[in-house]
């Protein structure tokens, strides 16, 4: 078959560019401008896949987003993608696609056996089955269901395509380029507004491409082309095709997915395949049109049954016949337009009109063309399995309840038109409270909650004249509101055929003795009988009916099924449709790829990273990095084959015996200046700050207002009104915010400026018994003796021509200093320290060794200051001033905080001096006590004490001050460990603090 259903000289495709493609392994041909669906239909292919549950043969139902089940697995440029609608995928040379949900082939599918068991597989069957025997669930049912579920196969390969984002603003965003979209865009743009016009399809114009209308003495198509050409040339207009506005969010933010390369065999290098636009518009016009509604009848899912408007689109846009012996089944005039198009192309359709005696221009035209029309007739059932071969038809009574004698009529396609359902998804997402329009039996937008308006068919307006008038007006008025211009354009003359009312009929009754499946939701295999069962079982709310039956779920989201479903529910419940309501419309309107949502935040750059000025040195010297928030910090410097434990132990030992250097750039630094700087410190810290001398540092603890420790650090007085505060890495931003909050809102009378200088200074901690010797070599012109630079002292020095700050502070508990230089000099400083330090056996050390050193010293850090502990718990009660007020002071008087047996930080050593204690373990008195075993405390931090050569931990323990010497048990259910331990002082090394003061 070589495009035997392609009409010569009809359509908008490019016949100069013939394309080859493969479907289910077979080669076919189409043209540039085809969709995969139109190309397949041109080649006489109607069997596209198998239905989700029953594996019934399925063909094409729509021609665009209205398509519920022509879903394929697409292969492009070595990649594969599931769930592609054949009606939306543009054809390109070399395209490959396969059917889904069938095995071994779409023609012969083993899964079709489900159809014979359909009485056992109604809606909700899975709530009543797969329960017995219990053991079968994991071994049989779940694996089987997982295998059977889903449509298509997700690729497991890395997606190498680029996907990008864009943030854009405009005065007016118009979703849809049908007549209302074009008219409003044109009027607004001419009036100076900044306009974005978005069209989902490749071609602009919407229904103007298929309608026989005349606008300003041009055909609808010509008028549309002229408008688009003009719009594209205007500098204040952005025109986008292949772009779907799929979500409406708060504050008039809409999101649009632009398919840049999906229609090409390959994406251009460096260019994205798709782009996600975040558009904030002052005003939004929704001209998303309507979707034709099906009429429900028996076997209405047979390949060859499709929407009448789709058949017309295939003919007029793609030059493709969906059949050569068509039957048009309609309750309104739209079906006649399709029939007339068939007739013009020498095909003789038969029209079944449910109405008794309609009169309109279109009906008369059909009659005049000699088309066979049967009034008050319905299709009872389609016949055929893989393709429609005939239809059972019958006359229907005026009350639409009784069928006459059923007769058979040969046909190869049934084009159905049950009138139109406005596409109100975007309006609903914006918060618009929709209302029911009884004239069209559908919901339309009601009161707007945001700056949006719906026009044209999306608003239930089906006459072109009225649509264009209101759209020109809307575009002008909205643009005038924004630009204050008043350039009104003249309204063109419109000629269109007048139509008459439709029949409010949507579902053909079953003839006696027949049990045809009448499908409501084609994608999810939901039939009339399924909804009836749901209601019988007590599911009354439409939301429950939806979830129990899956009506309107998955990628289709009920585009062709929702309203018929509502009609059925309202009939059974004896309610009117508005009282049944509708389910919530949620974005996206059509599927959006995960790639487009993620954008460029992938791989190594899925989140920003922060690096110190010495980072490249660390990399070159085998640092193994750890994430500290978004900072990358060296965890240890690997030598040979050593692991983390060995490396960190080596480094920590070297600090205790020689000297080590650690990159401490990441610690927060806040520059505090102002006449009231000391007063600020005095209020935020628990201890006293007003008399700190210039050139001295002091350790401070900051509390939250509820008394919980927020952060700790040292603050140094650089000069009279200038302080340098340090914070932990994790709390740097929080502390700055905390200070800003108080300065701006609580103490605006204080003249103080705080600014982060974390990045301004590169910092190195030099620690160990030989650190002073090293420092003297680094600063030969400075007196860094114990007298010259005492503990907690500060001075400025010259590091071989580089200005440096030297703080004598220690986190490791050893004699130590922190050297800061301006960041561009960071690498120089580090290399100099390493060079000069060789004499003293210097080694760099990372966060793991740093942790070991502070744990065995009993210095609290983040794992103790975890948002639950107060100063007393951390043995910091000595820093609480009794003389002055500070943030959190009052909260410390709360009953729980002053209890005698309050928890406190202690040291924990395993009795065997070998077993490491997992962090997070619980401390209990009796390991054999029945559950729940009373928890006395928990392990906050663990290390291998390099000083004592055994495991050591810190813990927060109830009544800790009285528990020293006690024998307890550590229990870790996660690690399945029970370890007998002894409670010791948290200061396991140098309890008197002599080393730091040496």
């Amino acid at each position: 078959m070589d495009q035997s259903f392609r009409l010569p000289d009809v359509g908008l495709i490019n016949r100069n560019n013939k394309l080859s493609f493969k479907f289910n392994g077979k080669i076919y041909y189409g043209y540039e401008g085809d969709t995969l669906a139109s190309a397949l239909i041109a080649n006489g292919i109607h069997l596209i896949g198998r239905s989700f549950k029953y594996h019934r043969p399925r063909g094409f139902f729509g021609a665009g987003v209205d398509e519920p089940y022509a879903i394929v697995q697409l292969y492009r440029n070595g990649e594969t993608e599931p769930n592609i609608r054949a009606t939306e995928q543009e054809l390109f040379e070399g395209l490959e696609a396969t059917s889904v949900n069938c095995w071994p082939s779409v023609n012969f599918d083993i899964g079709a056996i489900n159809n014979f068991f359909k009485i056992f597989l109604p809606a909700g069957f899975y709530y009543k089955t797969f329960m017995w025997p219990k053991s079968f669930w994991y071994k049989v049912y779940e694996p089987f269901i997982r295998k059977a579920a889903g449509l298509g196969v997700a690729s497991t390969k890395h997606d190498k395509e680029r996907y990008e984002h864009k943030y854009e603003y405009c005065d007016l965003l118009i979703a849809g380029s049908g007549p209302s979209g074009l008219a409003s865009a044109y009027a607004a743009a001419k009036n100076g507004a900044r306009v974005i016009l978005a069209e989902d399809k490749a071609r602009f114009g919407g229904t103007l491409l298929t309608s026989e209308v005349n606008i300003g003495n041009k055909s609808g198509k010509e008028w549309a082309e002229g408008i688009i050409t003009e719009l594209k040339e205007m500098p204040n207009v952005t025109v986008k095709n292949r772009s779907q506005v799929f979500g409406y969010y708060d504050h008039n933010m809409l999101v649009m997915s632009e398919r840049i390369s999906d229609h090409l065999p390959k994406t251009k290098k460096f260019h994205p395949k798709q782009r996600l636009w975040y558009i904030r518009a002052k005003e939004v016009l929704i001209s998303s049109g309507s979707i034709e509604r099906p009429i429900v009848f028996g076997n209405n899912d047979t390949p060859g049954v499709m929407l009448s408007s789709a058949a017309k689109e295939y003919l007029k846009v793609y030059g493709v016949l969906v059949g050569k012996n068509p039957l048009i089944f309609t309750n309104n005039d739209s079906g006649y337009e399709t029939a007339i198009e068939f007739k013009k192309n020498d095909i003789d359709p038969v029209i079944l009109d449910t109405r008794k005696d309609p009169h309109s221009e279109i009906v008369d035209e059909a009659k005049n063309l000699g088309i066979n029309i049967k009034f008050s007739y319905v299709v009872v059932a389609a016949q055929g399995y893989k393709k429609v071969k005939s239809a059972d038809i019958a006359k229907i009574s005026e009350d639409k309840e009784k069928l006459g004698t059923v007769e058979s009529i040969k046909c190869d396609c049934i084009c159905v038109s049950g009138f139109w359902t406005p596409t109100i998804h975007l309006a609903s997402q914006s918060g618009n409270k929709t209302k029911f329009n009884v004239d069209i039996d559908a919901f339309v937008p009601g009161v707007s909650k945001q700056n949006e308006k719906t026009l044209g068919a999306a608003n239930g307006s089906y006459t072109l004249d009225e649509t264009l008038k209101s759209s020109f007006e809307a575009g002008h008025e909205l643009s005038k509101k924004i630009t204050n211009n008043d350039n009104k354009i003249s309204f063109p003359n419109v000629v269109e055929k007048k139509s008459t009312t439709h029949d409010k009929f949507w579902c053909v009754p079953l003839p006696k003795g027949k049990n045809y499946k009448r499908f409501l939701d084609f994608q999810n295999d939901v039939a009339v009988s399924d909804v009836e069962i749901a209601l019988k079982e007590g599911y009354r709310s439409i939301e429950h009916v939806k979830r129990y039956t899956t009506l309107g779920m998955a990628t289709d989201q009920g585009k062709t099924s929702n309203l018929n479903g509502l009609q059925l529910v309202s009939n059974i419940e004896n309610k009117v449709v508005p009282n049944v309501g509708h389910t919530t419309f949620r974005p996206p309107y059509t599927p959006v790829s995960i790639g487009a949502i993620v954008g460029r935040e992938v791989g190594k750059h899925s989140k920003p990273t922060r690096k110190s000025p010495m980072h490249s040195w660390h990399e070159k010297n085998n640092a193994v990095f750890v994430d500290a928030g978004v900072w990358l910090r060296p965890r240890y410097y690997k030598q040979g084959d050593e692991n983390l434990f060995e490396g960190s132990k080596r480094e920590a030992k070297n600090v205790r015996t020689n000297v080590g250097v650690c990159d401490v750039t990441t610690l927060g630094k806040i520059d505090i200046k102002g006449p009231d700087a000391a007063e600020l410190l005095n209020r935020v810290y628990t201890n006293a700050w007003l008399k700190l001398p210039v050139g001295k540092a002091r350790y401070g603890v900051m509390l939250r207002e509820d008394g919980i420790v927020m952060d700790d650090g040292t603050t140094t007085r650089i000069s009279e009104n200038h302080y340098h505060m340090t914070t932990t890495t994790a709390q740097a931003a929080n502390v700055l915010s905390h200070l800003e909050y108080y300065l701006q809102l609580v103490w605006p009378e204080l003249n103080v400026n705080v600014v982060s200088t974390t990045e301004q200074w590169a910092g190195a901690a030099v620690a160990g018994p030989k650190s002073r010797d090293l420092l003297q070599k680094l600063f030969p012109n400075s007196d860094v003796s114990n007298e010259g630079l005492p503990f907690m002292g500060y001075m400025e020095g010259d590091l071989f021509g580089v200005k440096a700050r030297i703080f004598r502070i220690s986190f490791s508990g050893e004699l130590a200093y922190e050297v800061n230089v301006e960041s561009d000099n960071g690498n120089f400083m580090w290399e100099k320290i390493m060079e000069v330090g060789q004499e003293f056996k210097i080694q760099p050390y990372g966060t793991e060794a740093l942790s070991t050193l502070r744990i065995e010293m009993g210095h609290v850090a983040g794992s103790e200051l975890d948002g639950r502990t107060i100063p007393y718990d951390n043995s910091l009660e000595g820093l609480l001033s009794k003389k002055k007020d500070f943030i959190g002071k009052r909260s410390l008087t709360r009953e729980a905080f002053i209890a005698d047996d309050r928890q406190k930080v202690v040291g924990v050593v395993p009795l065997d001096k070998i077993t490491s204690i997992p962090e997070g373990s619980h401390l209990v008195k009796d390991s054999n006590a029945p559950l729940p075993n009373p928890k006395l405390g928990y392990i906050s931090a663990s290390c291998w004490s390099v000083e004592h050569d055994n495991p050591f931990s810190l813990a927060i323990l109830k009544d800790g001050k009285n528990m020293i010497g006690e024998k307890l048990f550590v229990m870790s259910p996660l690690k399945n460990k029970v370890i007998p331990v002894e409670i010791v002082s948290s200061h396991y090394v140098d309890p008197k603090g002599e080393r730091v003061r040496s």
């Binding site: 290098k269 460096f270 260019h271 990441t666 009378e749 003249n751 400026n753 600014v755 690498n827």
Partner: protein, 195 residues
């Protein structure tokens, strides 16, 4: 002794992205700006001194949002109420500023080493920024400055010129490599020359 700038490890010269067949003069240009004096100047809330009388390198401070006051060497960006960021090629200005601004009325803090600075120049410069920053760049004019985020990284944008667009971006130094990657990655589509 050599200074290592924020982007020294990642910035390399050359042409990148979709540049082939394009006029080199029309390509985006990306480069790292370094060795600038960057000073935060803040007037204390209760100071009664008129900042309008302050003269820095011939420029007067203005407390107007988005505004940038500039001459050939120096630009003063409004950073908040009575809060400015001075950026200058004149390193000697720090001494002048410290002398002219009384420390009981103003806080002057040197931040020269705390920023990574990327300049991007070309017709598509704003399009690059639109890819990662939610700000409305259609309204950004010459001598405007804003603070926002680019792919989650806080940054300051200083619009130096608009014919063609020339934009200077400041981020915290430690984020420099990540920002550089984001900006150059976003520029690939247009083709750019790294100088």
């Amino acid at each position: 002794m050599s200074l290592v700038s924020a982007l020294a490890n990642v910035h390399s010269t050359g042409k990148f992205g979709d540049h082939e067949g394009k006029n080199e003069n029309n390509l985006l240009k990306v480069f790292e700006n370094k060795n600038l004096l960057i000073i935060q100047i803040v007037q204390y809330k209760n100071s009664t001194v008129s900042f309008e009388n302050v003269d820095i390198d011939g420029l007067k401070l203005k407390d107007r949002p988005l505004s940038v006051i500039s001459n050939n060497d120096t630009r003063i960006l409004w950073n908040g109420p009575k809060n400015w960021l001075l950026v200058s090629t004149r390193k000697d200005l720090l001494k002048d500023i410290s002398q002219n601004l009384n420390e009981t009325d103003f806080a002057v803090t040197d931040l020269s080493h705390s920023k990574a600075i990327i300049e991007i120049e070309g017709q598509d410069a704003k399009e690059v920024l639109k890819k990662g920053c939610p700000f409305n760049f259609n309204t950004l004019e010459k001598n405007n400055s804003i603070n926002s985020t680019y792919n989650g990284i806080a940054f300051t944008v200083d619009m130096l010129d608009d014919n063609p667009n020339k934009i200077r971006l400041f981020a915290l130094r430690s984020f420099g490599e990540s920002l550089y990657h984001s900006i150059t990655d976003a520029s690939l589509e247009f083709g750019f020359k790294s100088v």
